[in-house]
Symmetry: C2
Subunit: 501 residues, 2 copies
């Protein structure tokens, strides 16, 4: 078979697999947004079947034969071309996917489902002991999963690689070793800020109307996106013109604004993917960290800054009369305050990454066998005191708060903090190249920013490795915590300046 | 392989196929209810892929080998058993599906999509000539499809068989030959009835609230169903505990009530399927006619009768003040009036089946080659005058009004009228066995009716052929138009009695 025939066959095969994966995505969205609860059992079966079909077709020997026959494409076509990238990225994915036996994969899926169910109950009762046996089985399976790989520096590396391809735990440690002391210091230095007006009566219908007013200005084409309420907000897409944002409205605060902007950031990434990457493994983002960098960009670097609110604050005040007497400056300080707390998902920008570093450290101890699982609550609580100075009252507000471990999702947490860090590396570049971006945003026009990000980052999908991508978009392949720390230092200094004045 | 091992393997295989088909169902529902329009292209590809995977897995030789190995099950197990039924029904499905070559099937799918697109445009412009070439290609493919079968009495039979298994065109003709003159006579005899109060301002939010008030009383378990608005209402289900109803609200009439009850009838059928039939080809209904009989039962035999409105009319009046001065009797007469019109989907109970008979006659002439396609508009209009005494002003209100032919869906229409007829055969039996059913419904309790239908009909899914099923539920295997005609005669007489009085 010549290389071009093989490429066509490979593309068809991958397109079919992408279709099945996309179908699973629709089923997952529906499950979390619209499905009547009675549908859960049948849905789990359908999702398992689709997952199995997509996986089997992908890891099949035939995929490997086609990849081999496609090898000349990589020499013939430029590195950046869709064709060479497809072959290169697919081979990496295929070689990785083949290493994990089907029954181990199936067992992991099963135990993840069981673990999740047990966790929901355990968290409700704040009963870590009840969750422990499920956690143990999931961790044991993770260790067997790690054994499928070889040549790694740390047993944590294969887990991390699922979310941050090619990144090593030691590289994350280097970044976090800089962050931890600096963040702890910042948190201690942050003044108390009055934010009581952010709690009160904020009718959900008005919050929804505000979200629907803001979203269309962010750069989504008409008819290519929708927003729905859900319990745990997420974003998914079934093509770059079918982007699904979700958010959570509470009647007594305004958090839905930033939850929506966060998911919109993920959504804009998907929306900006080149159409040519549809139905290929190149659709998406190179890593969760890069993807998260964009949710954080729109949530924080746009959505908590003066330019954005210069335009939007009067519109927000018009919807929520209680803000009528609150000055823009006061509002900005409140939404940028730093305040240690117990819960990761409620954490502000300054404290957030400390929650992550804690989890990263514990995860490494778990997979390294350096901590007994029954000692996790104690270790958690001690670190919370150490990092953030808070006392954990019970495990529901401590070690049981996150869903991730219940489904065996270890190696995922660091990507959140890396996203924060990367967002500032890219933002620095944005400010260099778009000196007037603040003025545009203050006039309600985010399109120069959106265009820049789409052109430099979003459209490339998964063509490049995370390091290649970071180098292209931010000028250097390495994750550098300094711009992020400088940003937070500015923030805290700003809060202090006003607090003192 | 022994029969029981084979049965397990067959069940697993069919469960996987059912999962893929169900996934396609979710994608279809999403497409019609929630999908942003930009997602259409990717969705079409995903649906085509899922359809192909499900079809290929089903028609595979391996399915046949397993069926052969399962043959002893049919002797060992009772005819009614889930196991024997599975083997029996699956063999029939498999043998039929195998007859149609994959490329003909693919071509039909493609031309159906093209035809549908052309039809939307042609109907908008009332331009039959623009639609004609697409119709011709779809009809040609239908003729090739018919050629895949043998031993039929009429070339219409293989088409009809897709929707009404084992039924022949000649059997439909026998029924329609009784209906047509009788219905024409009834329509002519029907008096004009004042119904102006059914048009006016009926806020959609109130209509929706009324639907959400009625639905839970119809027998759906909590958390097993949802209702959404859409353009062309339909019902689908992904398990008997995940039933999706859709309806259409217009702000100036109350038609959403009967549209909702209609889809609820389909939904109750799915909801009533035995849980053991999930993920097998036995899930569903034996024929479209039987399925439609139940949508008609809930829409008309429940939803247009005095007992139902004895309970619900005061509640409806409370929501819509303009009905406050309209007596229940006046309301009942209006919703039971018979009035010739141009559009099938807007037709009342008395005229509805005449629209169907017209289509059935034309379809037979088309597949029999007894009419030139370019002459269809003229033939349509002549028959509309003949059957219903109305003049068709343009093709948008005539031959172009329905979606079915645009996608090659010939043989489908008769099932609507058969549904009407069958609903009365079953209803007759209901009244014999549940003499107090009216009192219960008038007290707002439809559960005796729902239980009876579930026990006698719904729970059996596709276990039996349509005739076997009809015999079990209504006492005779043949479709008998007399109860339906008697019902309509009563209705028209009632209208006349008051009109005269």
């Amino acid at each position: 078979m010549d290389a071009h025939t093989a490429l066509t066959a490979l593309q068809e095969r991958l397109a079919e697999i992408a279709d099945v994966a996309k179908a699973a995505g629709v089923l997952g969205w529906d499950q979390r947004v619209t499905m009547p609860p009675g549908g859960g059992e049948a849905r789990a079966e359908a999702l398992a079947t689709l997952g199995r079909i997509a996986h089997e077709r992908f890891v099949d020997d035939e995929t490997g034969r086609l990849l081999d026959a496609c090898a000349p494409i990589e020499d013939e076509q430029p590195f950046d071309s869709d064709e060479a990238s497809l072959v290169r990225v697919t081979r990496r994915d295929w070689e990785k996917a083949r290493r994990v036996p089907a029954d181990l994969r199936a067992e992991m899926t099963r135990e993840a489902a069981r673990g999740h169910q047990a966790w929901v109950e355990a968290r409700r009762n704040s009963d870590f002991a009840a969750f422990l046996p499920y956690l143990r089985r999931n961790v044991d399976l993770k260790l067997r999963y790690i054994d499928c790989f070889e040549g790694f520096e740390s047993p944590y590396d294969p887990l991390l690689d699922d979310y941050e391809p090619d990144m090593k735990a030691s590289e994350v440690r280097e970044v976090f070793d800089v962050l931890r002391p600096a963040l702890t210091e910042l948190v201690a230095a942050a003044p108390e800020v009055e934010a009581g007006f952010l709690h009160g009566e904020f009718p959900v219908t008005e919050q929804r109307a505000f979200a629907e007013e803001v979203l269309p200005t962010l750069g989504f084409e008409d008819g290519a996106m929708r927003l729905d309420p859900t319990v745990h907000p997420f974003c998914t897409s079934f093509s770059n013109r079918d982007v699904r944002l979700t958010t959570r409205y509470r009647g007594d605060d305004l958090e839905s604004i930033w939850s929506t902007l966060h998911e919109a950031g993920h959504g804009l990434y998907a929306h900006g993917n080149d159409s040519a990457l549809q139905r290929t493994p190149l659709y998406g983002a190179p890593s969760l960290g890069l993807n998260e960098s964009q949710s954080r960009t729109w949530e924080n670097l746009v959505g908590r800054q003066r330019p954005f609110w210069t335009f939007w604050y009067p519109r927000l005040q018009a919807r929520f009369p209680s803000l009528g007497t609150v000055e823009l400056d006061t509002f900005l300080r409140a939404i940028n305050r730093a305040e240690p707390g117990l819960i990761r998902v409620d954490a502000d920008e300054t404290t957030y990454s400390l929650h992550i570093i804690l989890r990263f450290e514990l995860e490494q101890e778990i997979v390294g066998g350096r901590i007994r699982l029954e000692d996790l609550p104690e270790a958690w609580n001690a670190r919370m005191k150490d990092f953030l100075g808070v006392d954990v009252p019970d495990d529901a507000h401590g070690v049981l708060q996150d869903v991730h471990w219940s489904g065996g999702g270890m190696g995922y947490f660091p990507t959140y903090a890396l996203g924060n860090v990367i967002s500032l590396q890219i933002w620095q570049r944005v400010r260099e190249e778009l000196p007037d971006v603040d003025d545009a945003i203050a006039a309600g026009d985010v399109s120069p920013l959106g265009e820049w990000l789409r052109e430099r980052l979003y459209r490339h999908g998964r063509k490049y490795t995370p390091k290649e991508m970071l180098e292209r978009v931010a000028g250097a392949p390495e994750i550098d915590p300094e711009p992020y720390l400088a940003y937070l230092r500015d923030k805290v200094e700003g809060l202090r300046a006003v607090a003192v004045a």
